[in-house]
Symmetry: C2
Subunit: 153 residues, 2 copies
DNA sequence: GCGAATCGTAACATACGGTGTTACATGAAA
DNA sequence: TTTCATGTAACACCGTATGTTACGATTCGC
């Protein structure tokens, strides 16, 4: 299955934005993500419509985070992206009047719905602030290691 | 996202097979699923290689379930299909040496892994026998309703 | 043995969605 | 006014699930 990586992309972008004082342009974010500025604008547009980020046009414009990092969860981002479904598996409603199909769909849907509920709950517990903190920890760890081995911090 | 409906398909097929004494041909199953015989053979081939069903060639050949219905779970079927991933969302490893990307991937992977574990556990608790029973209940319910309203049972 | 039926599989076509790219209009600041 | 940036449409590209055709291999009934 081809996976939707937009959630990963916006997380990556938001963490870079969190490290920056000034707004970041779609071009700058595209360089961070190794992708295209239009793709960034297209994807970040979902977050803007959800009120999670804001964008300004013109010189000194760009993208900035509109809320405190501790108030934005993975769940918020996932919902903002309007992803049609979390799962790569689903049922085919080719014969909705077939009782066999109905029994199959009911069983699958119930199981998937439970897993989706858990996933959304867990995603609601992880904030951007948590991720930023994790990043800072990794950064400090690498800096210390680089210092030991003689590399740049 | 385009969803993989093979699990739903094989469930549908297996329940029809469970209702039949004689082996069912890929053509007959294809009619049940409103699809193509080759698609049926292709998909059921995964179950055959996993030892869940058996197929016979030649006249009076076809497909039959190789194990007791109560010993086959949704988990068995899912694993037999060798689906690359349950989720339609994932991370893009465009910059694996980027610490931001690493922090994002770690957070996403941990959350998704937990949800996947729950899903597989739940799928391991649902057997084909359960589904067949649910189908029988729906069938009885519709039959009773049809009798009341004057339709065929 | 012969022919019909069936599976096994390769090869190709089709549909669809995520992603990348170009182009251009809109808006804001120097 | 010029420049820079977003907003968005339009299209190309690619990978994957699915559908289709074709043909070889195997088994049963005659």
């Amino acid at each position: 299955m081809k996976r939707d990586s937009r959630l990963s992309s916006v997380l990556h972008a938001l963490l870079h934005m969190a490290q920056s004082d000034a707004p970041m342009t779609s071009g700058a974010l595209a360089r961070c993500l190794a992708t295209n500025p239009v793709v960034v604008r297209r994807t970040m547009g979902f977050l803007r419509r959800a009120g999670l980020v804001a964008s300004d046009r013109g010189q000194a414009g760009g993208w900035r985070i509109a809320r405190d990092l501790s108030t934005i969860t993975l769940r918020d981002l996932h919902l903002a992206l309007e992803e049609p479904g979390i799962f790569a598996i689903g049922h085919r409603n080719a014969a909705p009047d077939c009782l066999v199909e109905q029994a199959v769909n009911a069983a699958l849907d119930a199981t998937l719905a439970e897993a989706e509920a858990l996933l959304l709950r867990r995603m609601g517990e992880v904030t951007l602030a948590d991720l930023a903190e994790d990043f800072a920890r990794r950064h400090a760890s690498r800096s210390a290691h680089d210092k030991e081995t003689g590399h740049d911090a």
